[in-house]
């Protein structure tokens, strides 16, 4: 019972925040509302005892991805007015596509209901059940090949990004850390022996 109430509260906040993401005028607010979305989604996962996924969602998406998003949004000077310029002109087309997608989704859900049985609510797991181990067991057996390939996709993204953006420009003033560290007092300070002078 309590779980149900919690579910509805967090689900409502999640939907509200998700609406806020697309309706907020300020892009920074959108990003922060998206963070709120992720937190609520993480709680929903906690409620069905998928604690590993909940923690990963917060750590990876909120901790890393959204911080990066914030950086990008703050660094790019996004002119919201210009983005909204074509809204009225494109709205009918967008509405048409939205309706088509909604019908398609509805149809697929309907087809599913016809043929395939939907799984009943998840049964409570026995105490001490390790979610992480379960995911690990699947990830390294059934999905070991796609998992490794996904890692390769990331590697390619890194190689491509560096190959396309790294430039060695001559004449750029850079620190040479090695030289800085290896410096000795004698290189920087010269002691000069001289007689003391009387003030005139």
């Amino acid at each position: 019972m309590l779980v149900n109430i919690l579910f509805w509260i967090y689900a409502a906040v999640l939907v509200g925040a998700a609406l806020g993401v697309i309706l907020a005028r300020n892009p920074v607010h959108s990003v922060l509302l998206l963070v709120l979305c992720f937190f609520n989604a993480a709680v929903l996962w906690l409620l069905i005892e998928a604690e590993f996924l909940a923690i990963v969602l917060v750590l990876v998406y909120v901790g890393a991805v959204m911080v990066l998003f914030l950086f990008v949004v703050m660094m790019l000077d996004i002119n919201v007015e210009r983005l909204r310029e074509g809204f009225v002109r494109n709205a009918p087309l967008a509405a048409l596509i939205a309706v088509i997608v909604a019908i398609e989704l509805g149809y697929v859900l309907w087809v599913r209901r016809l043929g395939v049985e939907l799984p009943a609510g998840t049964a409570p797991l026995p105490a001490g059940h390790s979610n992480t181990a379960e995911i690990g067991a699947v990830l390294y057996t059934d999905f070991v090949w796609p998992f490794q390939l996904a890692a390769i996709v990331l590697l390619i993204a890194i190689v491509a990004a560096i190959a396309l953006t790294l430039r060695h420009r001559p004449g750029v003033r850079q620190q040479n850390i090695g030289q800085q560290v290896a410096v000795r007092p004698a290189d920087r300070v010269r002691l000069v022996r001289m007689k003391s002078e009387r003030e005139p």
């Binding site: 999905f143 390939l149 996904a150 996709v153 491509a160």
Partner: protein
């Protein structure tokens, strides 16, 4: 604490995937070599990449499976088809690297990353060829596509190349999204990613369900984009034209093998039960590709752009073979793909042969009078152009014949007649290249700068087109054997 039985991945599961693992490891070695080798020894990364392809050939033939074997929990399929396609991929990739070497070096593009990205692209092709589930298939497509996006933009100070890469990237992302959407719907309807399971589930009544058809249509759109079939061809001319010729050569050759494998694995093997549904979709794609590709190619003055539209028309032919939906059709499509790849790699190779520092040699006018300056390579180009046009005795003729025969056998005579008509129209622009070479005065008499190995392999490439045309039986028998 409940004890978990620790799952163990048996090494016998990994053996069939040895070639993929080898290429991935080799790409990492090349990456490290690029980092640690001093500037003047960077040429070694190129040699290492060639060695990697040679090694992969060896490994693949070592672990070749005589029968269809599914390992890694249904994610990986090893069968004779995969072996043959992979061996072809290595060969084509090695030849295109060899052709590209001088061109890249003259333009300062011969960096280790180029070889690394090429090797990763080969890995993507391997993964697609051996995909046992829609998930693996999608990851293979992404590995291939990401490598190609980066390769197109590799000449980063070139505005045209950057524009081409941008278009390719955005349209490719949309296509991937469409494909994923289709895959998710198919998963929702059938409850499985596994192509083997799909082949069993999608039969009879289930194959006509509206949900499955929706997913199937979206998947066909994704496949058509990867092929470059009309109306999903928009990226192709710009990417072919904008990329450095060396990259065009690669994009125009080896990934076609991947597209063929993609179509066979998804449509023929996974969703074979829904053949009636996708046959009609492919008919539309094939007709449009044949028409638009051949007609628009006539209007091009740039050879790379012309070959791009010619690719679109050849894709139409490959689709004709696949839409036949039976073993003979798949064999014809495979024969067509392999021979087309050989012809395409040679044709772009000739462009690279004629290019010099600051001169791309990719306009049709640049080929004027080639017969007077270097008659042998004019003859090689003649063989390749006749091959693409489908003039006997070059191999392209047999390829077209097989495909058209397959289409007639399933009763689509009008489609066969249309294909013949379109290839007659297409012959015009191939013959125009030949006319430029043989009946015009040369534009310049600059000597060729290519090295000996390049010249030798290019000559062999041209002669292979002739030899396969004179003796097509061997390759035909091979296709029949692996797709029997």
């Amino acid at each position: 604490m409940i004890e978990h039985a620790v799952p163990v991945l048996a090494s016998s599961e990994l053996v069939p995937a040895a070639a993929e693992i080898f290429i991935a490891a080799a790409a990492c070695v090349v990456l490290l070599a690029e980092v640690f080798l001093p500037e003047r020894r960077r040429g070694w990364t190129f040699v290492l990449a060639m060695l990697a392809l040679a090694g992969a050939t060896w490994v693949t033939s070592l672990v070749a499976m005589p029968e269809r074997t599914v390992v890694l929990y249904g994610q990986f399929v090893a069968d004779p088809l995969a072996t043959v396609l992979k061996l072809f991929t290595y060969g084509i990739a090695a030849v295109s690297l060899l052709y590209s070497r001088d061109y890249l070096r003259r333009r300062g593009l011969l960096r280790g990353e180029y070889c690394v990205l090429t090797l990763f692209a080969v890995l993507g092709i391997q993964v697609i060829i051996s995909a046992g589930s829609l998930l693996t298939l999608y990851l293979g497509i992404e590995i291939l596509a990401l490598s190609l996006y980066a390769l197109v933009a590799f000449d980063r100070d070139n505005g045209v190349a950057a524009e081409a890469a941008m278009k390719y990237f955005v349209l490719g992302a949309i296509a991937s999204g469409t494909l994923l959407y289709g895959i998710s719907i198919v998963y929702g309807v059938t409850g499985s990613f596994d192509l083997g399971v799909l082949a069993v589930v999608v039969q009879g009544e289930a194959a006509g369900g509206i949900g499955l058809l929706l997913g199937l249509a979206l998947i066909v759109v994704g496949v058509a984009f990867k092929f470059g079939a009309v109306p999903f061809h928009m990226w192709l001319p710009d990417v072919y034209h904008g990329s450095p010729t060396a990259v065009t050569l690669f994009i125009g050759s080896a990934p076609k093998i991947a597209s063929f494998a993609l179509a066979i694995r998804v449509l023929a093997e996974g969703l074979g039960g829904a053949v009636d549904a996708w046959q009609d979709m492919l008919v539309v794609l094939a007709v449009l590709s044949l028409a638009i590709g051949n007609v628009v190619a006539i209007a091009q003055t740039n050879l790379k752009r012309m070959l791009a539209y010619s690719t679109i028309s050849h894709v139409g032919f490959i689709l004709l073979g696949i839409l036949a939906g039976n073993a003979a059709g798949y064999q014809a499509a495979m024969f067509y793909t392999l021979t087309y790849v050989i012809l395409a790699v040679g044709a772009f190779g000739v462009i690279l042969l004629l290019s010099r520092q600051g001169f791309e040699s990719d306009e049709l006018d640049d080929f004027r009078g080639l017969n007077q300056t270097s008659p042998w390579y004019a003859f090689v180009m003649l063989l390749l152009m006749f091959g693409m046009a489908g003039v006997p005795p070059i191999v392209g003729f047999w390829a077209k014949l097989q495909v058209i025969k397959a289409v007639i056998d399933i009763g689509l005579v009008w489609l066969a007649a249309f294909a013949v008509l379109m290839s007659v129209i297409g012959a015009f622009y191939y013959l125009r290249v030949v006319k430029n070479m043989y009946f015009e005065e040369p534009a310049s008499r600059e000597p060729l700068q290519a090295g000996g190995a390049f010249r030798l392999v290019l000559s062999l490439n041209g002669l292979a087109a002739l030899a396969l045309g004179l003796f097509p039986g061997l390759l035909l028998a091979l296709c029949a054997q692996v797709l029997g």
